[in-house]
């Protein structure tokens, strides 16, 4: 049940972000789909491992992978689909907590949160890059298979 509710909410959030970033009208629905799949994978891994870093990696990987499929299908740049999907994964809450700890002069806690936010951003980046490399290898393999006599 919680998955359904979160799926709908992340769909709304990603599609709304599509409007804020002025994505083409016909791509808005698919922006939402990308957001939903990314968030559900993130939630699932987060529940299994209790670890935001690996969950962000899995979420970002899914977002980039699904965006790639969409961009091939609709012949639009991949970035149109991936941007809205990545936003929910950005460690806004962790960064906020880090900054709040700085305001409260609790510097050790601030450092802890800040390094966690940095790790999460890094894992999002790695997820994006991994998905891109894998899809590139995949398309190259398909082209090779097709050109073979």
């Amino acid at each position: 049940m919680i998955y359904v509710a979160q799926g709908i909410l992340s769909f709304i959030a990603a599609a709304a972000f599509g409007i804020v970033f002025n994505a083409p009208k016909k791509s808005l629905f698919y922006c939402g789909i990308v957001g939903t799949t990314g968030w559900i994978v993130y939630m699932y891994v987060n529940q299994m491992n209790q670890d935001q870093v690996s969950a962000s990696f899995a979420g970002a990987f899914t977002v980039a992978f699904v965006s790639h499929i969409m961009s091939k299908k609709f012949k639009m740049p991949m970035i149109i689909f991936s941007v809205a999907g990545i936003i929910p994964l950005v460690p806004g809450g962790t960064a906020y907590n880090a900054m709040r700890s700085v305001v409260e002069k609790n510097y050790p806690l601030a450092l802890e949160y800040a390094s966690l936010a940095l790790l999460i951003s890094g894992s999002i980046a790695m997820g994006l890059v991994f998905a891109e490399i894998i899809t590139q290898l995949w398309t190259k393999a398909i082209v090779k298979l097709k050109t073979k006599p």
Partner: protein
């Protein structure tokens, strides 16, 4: 085909500038320009794109051109249209003259969503994020109002002042003030979650993704400068929130 090479160079520069102004990745802008040039028999073309300017050289007889990029926003629709034109040009569906006039048309009269719809979308996104981060249903109205006003303030201030960091700082400041007032008057309950949800439309998500992808694609100049822009924007948001919290 004795193409008009100067028009080709002009079109490539226009396409690259439109893409960079709407927030495309550097390597995509370079790739688009090169493809357009190659389809018009300029096979020796070289392009060097940074977030603040584009250097493009057609071949050794043509002068090397430089255009400056002053304003950078996020406009995914524009990226899609320019990409579409370069694709049609590369497949030979349109001539370079048609491509140039279509690009000019995009520059002059590109349609965006009306401003109020963008504000409503930002507000809805804030509310949805609040619930995604396991906030309470009671806090949703506050997040809607704070998110919408925050986005409107940052957008208008950016247009007026041309200083993005100030606009983001001030928007985060206003969001936090609204959230604090509503919690103090009993309309909202969890200050932290309201602020996190409402600040989300301001987060430089596109910049962060682009910075990393540019770095990985080997465009170190663009990657580092976009990373610096993203860091400064995030810092401005953080400072705006911190200022209210420390009062």
């Amino acid at each position: 085909m004795a193409a008009d090479y100067e028009l080709v160079v002009e079109s490539c520069l226009l396409a690259g500038r439109l893409m960079m102004e709407s927030g495309a990745e550097t390597y995509r802008a370079e790739d688009t320009m090169d493809r357009m040039a190659i389809s018009q028999e300029l096979t020796q073309s070289q392009s060097f794109v940074t977030p603040t300017g584009i250097i493009f050289s057609g071949n050794k007889n043509l002068p090397t051109r430089l255009v400056r990029i002053n304003a950078r926003t996020t406009d995914l629709g524009k990226i899609a249209s320019v990409n579409n034109i370069s694709r049609k040009l590369a497949f030979g569906d349109i001539t370079i003259e048609e491509a140039y006039s279509e690009l000019k048309q995009i520059e002059d009269e590109h349609e965006t969503y009306p401003f109020w719809i963008q504000i409503v979308a930002a507000a809805i996104a804030s509310g949805a994020f609040l619930l995604l981060f396991s906030g309470k249903l009671l806090d949703v109205p506050t997040a809607l109002i704070a998110g919408g006003i925050g986005y409107a303030v940052s957008d208008r201030l950016e247009v007026r002042t041309r200083v993005k960091f100030f606009a983001e700082f001030f928007a985060a400041f206003i969001v936090t003030v609204i959230a604090t007032i509503s919690v103090a008057s009993g309309l909202g309950s969890e200050l932290d979650k309201i602020i996190i949800g409402s600040v989300m439309p301001l987060v430089p998500g596109l910049l962060i993704t682009n910075a990393v992808r540019d770095l990985m694609a080997g465009s170190f100049v663009s990657g580092l400068s976009k990373g610096a822009e993203a860091f400064l924007t995030a810092f401005a948001i953080g400072a705006g929130v911190a200022l209210v919290l420390s009062l």
